[in-house]
């Protein structure tokens, strides 16, 4: 099913005339787009409102009076947030780089028709898509046997190999011209050299797409931290946000030391905005790849 991103066929001229119905369609799509952005606007507006305005008028689409108090408050003692950012960035960078490498190395031999173990090993990877032991065995394995809870490993390793992406990569590799690989072999190149010097450079678009989705997974993850992390120094950004929403005291205890009033709600929203900022910017920069990545995954490979 893997249909690689194809350009939409150019529509013929007669197709382009604006029909009256189209205006209605544009109107409904605009309305829908606004509805989809609405919660985001609400959040940003709350982060720019004063605490008194929120308690008096509630969350509003536009702040009554714009104030940066919440951001100032959040950033005056930024160590917790900075630590969380550092953890998230580290996990995302290592996880994405290692994940793409390991998955590509796993997928490439499976794409080679002359590899003797291709079928049984494809099944080994595939079976993990069908059946999983679930949370309890994983939890006991990580905390009791591997004892990697409260380390960065627990935030990286469980997501390192995602079988679905392995099959997407396998399908992509299988589509590369065989002659190049055969020619390199005749020239005496080893399998590793062929992989790194021929296969990888030719597969850059597919690898970039997979990297993008891996990075999104790691950046957004709070689940592994919920399960495996108690050490405040290893709390990633999303998990910090979760802790803040369940326990406003995380903020209050740190602020009582300064004897200031706590802009609780607006501060929470400000932290949320700080957390989604980078991902929003990244999305705007590479949205084309996201869209082509979906069509890559949306239809199934052989």
């Amino acid at each position: 099913m893997v249909v690689l991103p194809t350009k939409p066929p150019r529509l013929r001229a007669g197709y382009r005339r604006v029909r009256p119905g189209q205006i209605a369609i544009h109107a409904s799509l605009l309305l829908l787009s606004f509805l989809f952005l609405f919660p985001l606007v609400l959040l940003v507006s709350a982060s720019l409102s004063s605490e008194t305005d929120i308690s008096r008028y509630g969350f509003t689409l536009v702040p009554r009076r714009v104030t940066f108090d919440a951001y100032q408050y959040v950033l005056q003692e930024p160590s917790q947030i900075l630590t969380a950012y550092a953890v998230t960035i580290t996990v995302t960078a290592i996880g994405t780089a290692a994940g793409v490498l390991v998955m590509a190395l796993l997928a490439y031999p499976l794409s080679r028709p002359d590899f003797s173990w291709r079928r049984p090993l494809s099944f080994v990877v595939f079976f993990t898509l069908l059946f999983s032991g679930g949370l309890v065995p994983l939890y006991i394995l990580v905390t009791h046997y591997l004892q990697i809870n409260n380390t960065l490993w627990a935030l990286i390793l469980p997501y390192l190999v995602m079988p679905w992406y392995v099959f997407l990569l396998r399908a992509y590799f299988a589509g590369l011209p065989r002659e190049l690989i055969d020619a390199a072999k005749v020239d005496g190149a080893g399998e590793w050299r062929i992989f790194f010097q021929i296969v990888v450079p030719l597969s850059r678009p597919a690898l970039a797409t997979i990297a993008l989705f891996c990075a999104l997974t790691y950046w957004n993850d709070w689940y592994l931290a919920l399960l495996f992390i108690n050490n405040p120094a290893l709390v990633p950004l999303q998990y910090l946000l979760y802790q803040i929403s369940t326990n406003i005291q995380t903020l209050q205890t740190s602020s009582q030391a300064f004897g200031v009033t706590i802009p609780a709600l607006s501060a929470q929203m400000a932290i949320a905005v700080l957390a989604i900022g980078p991902i929003t910017l990244a999305f705007l920069a590479v949205q084309k790849h996201f869209v082509s990545g979906i069509t890559l995954g949306g239809v199934k490979g052989d």
């Binding site: 090993l121 679930g134 065995p137």
Partner: protein, 330 residues
């Protein structure tokens, strides 16, 4: 690679046999070398899968044991089906199974309908403004990027009892505000809206890609024959999209026994008042394991989910294979 043809014709049979043997050997050797090199490449990935996917699979034996941490998984006593008897002796079992199936069914249908509608609308404006059509796609896809932790903040801004946007709006029009985080009956609708908001954009792009792949000549011919846009949608677009729709539906049905943990745990703020409608298998397993600390019950529920889920995946694939053989996953 016809080995006998490599040999000289006039050699004695014995010599031929030896040469043949050597040639086979050399080839087999090269093949082994290739296989070993390729196997080495796969090693790190296979190791990760072994540890984080296969070891937990064997861990389902915990469900049949009285697990004690100090005895370990293998050392704990076997108790047969006792954990399952306890689990199905409670009201919880029925509740979490019904909630999981009902909520997922709601989500599957709603996301499908909304995503298809968006894709069809996007198709109609494709030709008229490339810029706007990109804007719609990006905006509608945007919520897919957010984690459920962030989505919890969005929902809280809308629904919190004293300052939430919804309650303020209700008050403004003279309706009594609702204590949303305590009214369980509203949450099937709320969570469906959240799921649609998060996922419809993603799926509409998948369906739009399917629509774009339809040969434009069908539409040209239909236009010449005087078919309206509406008729073209029903007679060309939807029938040709049917295989994709059916496959996606069947694949989601294969996953119907697995709930989206983040949605049910984060967005509801894990409020116990909401459990009657929002407690699903995944949240139950998590809570039973970490809060209550009942490993037996948790693993019984988890194993039940894994086994039923497995058969549902097999069933859905069998159905896909029957309707659309090329699209079956296996």
């Amino acid at each position: 690679m016809n080995i006998p043809s490599l040999l000289g014709a006039k050699r004695s049979p014995v010599v031929s046999a030896i040469v043949l043997q050597r040639e086979r050997w050399r080839l087999a050797n090269a093949n082994t070398k290739r296989d070993v090199a390729l196997l080495m490449m796969m090693l790190p990935g296979l190791l990760v899968l072994f540890v984080f996917a296969y070891l937990p699979m064997f861990g389902i034996i915990i469900a049949f044991k009285d697990y004690r941490a100090y005895q370990g998984v293998l050392g704990s006593q076997w108790v047969g089906l006792k954990n399952f008897q306890y689990l199905f002796g409670t009201d919880d079992a029925r509740r979490i199974v019904v909630n999981t199936l009902a909520m997922n069914a709601l989500f599957i249908v709603s996301v499908l309908v909304v995503a298809l509608a968006i894709a069809l609308l996007l198709k109609e404006v494709q030709g008229s403004s490339r810029w706007l059509s990109k804007f719609y796609q990006s905006t509608l896809f945007f919520p897919y990027l957010f984690s459920y932790v962030i989505i919890n903040y969005f929902v809280f801004a809308l629904l919190n009892t004293s300052n939430g946007f919804v309650n303020h709006t209700l008050e403004a029009v003279g309706v009594h505000p609702v204590n949303w985080y305590q009214s369980a009956q509203s949450w099937p609708v709320i969570l469906t809206l959240v799921t649609v908001w998060k996922n419809a954009g993603f799926w509409s792009i998948v369906y739009l890609a399917g629509i774009i792949a339809i040969n434009p000549e069908y539409y040209e011919a239909a236009t010449i024959d005087g078919a309206s846009r509406w008729r073209q949608m029903w007679r060309i677009t939807l029938p040709l999209l049917k295989p994709l729709i059916v496959i996606n539906l069947l694949l989601s049905i294969g996953r119907i026994f697995y709930a989206d943990f983040g949605l049910f745990y984060q967005v509801t703020r894990n409020a116990p008042e909401l459990y009657p409608t929002t407690d699903v298998i995944d949240t139950y397993v998590y809570r039973t394991l970490t809060t209550i600390g009942d490993v037996g019950m948790a693993s019984a529920a988890g194993t039940f989910q894994a086994v039923v889920g497995f058969f549902l995946v097999l069933l859905s694939n069998w159905l896909v294979r029957r309707t659309e053989p090329q699209s079956a996953i296996f």
